[in-house]
Symmetry: C2
């Protein structure tokens, strides 16, 4: 039982709320029952350490048992220790330290993807995580993230994925122009989703393999980035709203793709 909230181990976990520490160590935190459940199910040996309180163990016995059975390091900790480890202060009895999965663009392309998302300049961790969740739900093959975007392994982003960070490949640190070129070289059309688009979503050609290129929450995509795309598509706005938020627009676009690519 770990009891000292000021121990070096606790400090090292807590430090993972900083991007620099995540990048240096190649580790990140998933906390709360939902994210931890998906980490146990999908992260394999990438789940490095699981920290549980007595209450967490009592409420999620199967989960902790699965982790132990799979040979993961399970540590019992006091409530104080878990709170000190977590950025949120409310980890609900469970916290996992995981290795960043290192998917590469080459691996993603080698799997002949049909539906991708490319985040060009997303700044809000909640939005980034919600887009990953939506991409997972709509059956996308991977999410690609530019070097100018928020770190999708920030605690708030991981929480917003609701476990989807463990479900599909996420490639980070990409150059947008080079990535668009690589996608097109592999026969993947690039569709920019932007309120300035001239093609309405219902008119967009979603038949072949394609990637949705999404920009910044506040200012969308730059003209330069838009010009890289094969088409610029806008979700129709039928009422008086100025726009949809990024995650909603992404989800609507992805489900439009899914209806064409994978009709049930």
């Amino acid at each position: 039982m770990l009891t000292n909230p000021r121990s070096d181990r606790v400090k090292a976990v807590r430090a993972l709320s900083r991007r620099s520490a995540r990048e240096r160590s190649g580790r990140f935190v998933a906390d709360g029952p939902q994210a931890v459940r998906e980490a146990v199910a999908y992260a394999g040996a990438g789940l490095l350490d699981l920290y549980v309180t007595q209450e967490g163990q009592r409420r999620h016995p199967g989960l902790v048992e699965s982790a132990r059975a799979a040979g993961r390091h399970v540590h019992e900790v006091t409530d104080d220790v878990l709170v000190a480890m977590s950025e949120t202060g409310a980890p609900q009895g469970l916290l996992a330290v995981c290795r960043r999965p290192d998917a590469t663009l080459e691996q993603v392309l080698a799997a002949a993807p049909r539906l991708l998302v490319l985040l060009a300049n997303v700044r809000d961790p909640g939005n980034a995580g919600t887009v990953i969740r939506g991409a997972d739900a709509a059956g996308a093959d991977a999410v690609l993230v530019s070097d100018a975007s928020v770190d999708v392994y920030a605690p708030k982003a991981v929480r917003s994925t609701a476990g989807s960070a463990f479900h599909l490949p996420v490639v980070t640190g990409l150059d947008v122009a080079a990535t668009v070129a690589a996608l097109r070289a592999h026969g993947i059309r690039v569709l920019a989703a932007d309120g300035a688009g001239s093609t309405l979503l219902p008119d967009a050609d979603l038949t072949g393999p394609h990637a949705w290129l999404l920009g910044n929450e506040a200012w969308g995509l730059s003209e330069e980035t838009r010009s890289l795309a094969d088409d610029v598509v806008r979700v129709p706005i039928l009422g008086r709203a100025e726009s949809l938020n990024l995650a909603m627009a992404a989800t609507v676009c992805l489900y439009a793709s899914a209806a064409v690519i994978a009709p049930h």
Copy 2:
């Protein structure tokens, strides 16, 4: 120029971050340029007081002028006063106190609506606001909110609407069962959106007037509430995600409706 951040007026505005004060006074706060712009454009005399700093006036001269020209009460305030008024502490130079628009279910039904949203038990203000924004974008006629839901005039909810709270009628404090009965009596089908639904969204009948019934973020709709609906519809989950979040599911459902009701 209002300069005293401890004045009774400032305290009265700040108090509107509490639900009890909003309900007692029938007032709420919209802060930041986007919400204030929509309040000036759409709230009419419902915009009771507009508070602006010098910086706010400098950055949004047209907006402040429009409010003055329309006969609204515009007050110049110091930065300290505006910060003291706002729950966020970052109102970006503009804050409006508005009267709660008092749309009623009868008014909404009298306008022969074709697409509605009924929030049964939504607890997160950000989700409620985002659903209102999505409903606006998808061209819904109104949003109906049950008495067990979060107050959609909470500051965080109003911000999440991105101005849409001023665009379409929002009726609050409704009893779910009575509202469903009233909708059906007016020939409006009620479709519950729930992961437990047996009908997949692409198979749902969206041709006639209908209302989407949405439940709680965490536990969806109760069996009792689901049983009130004409059909229970689920958004297909194609990947490994357990679900979509409430606002995403709502937006996907609403856009599916819009494609049938108002094809471009």
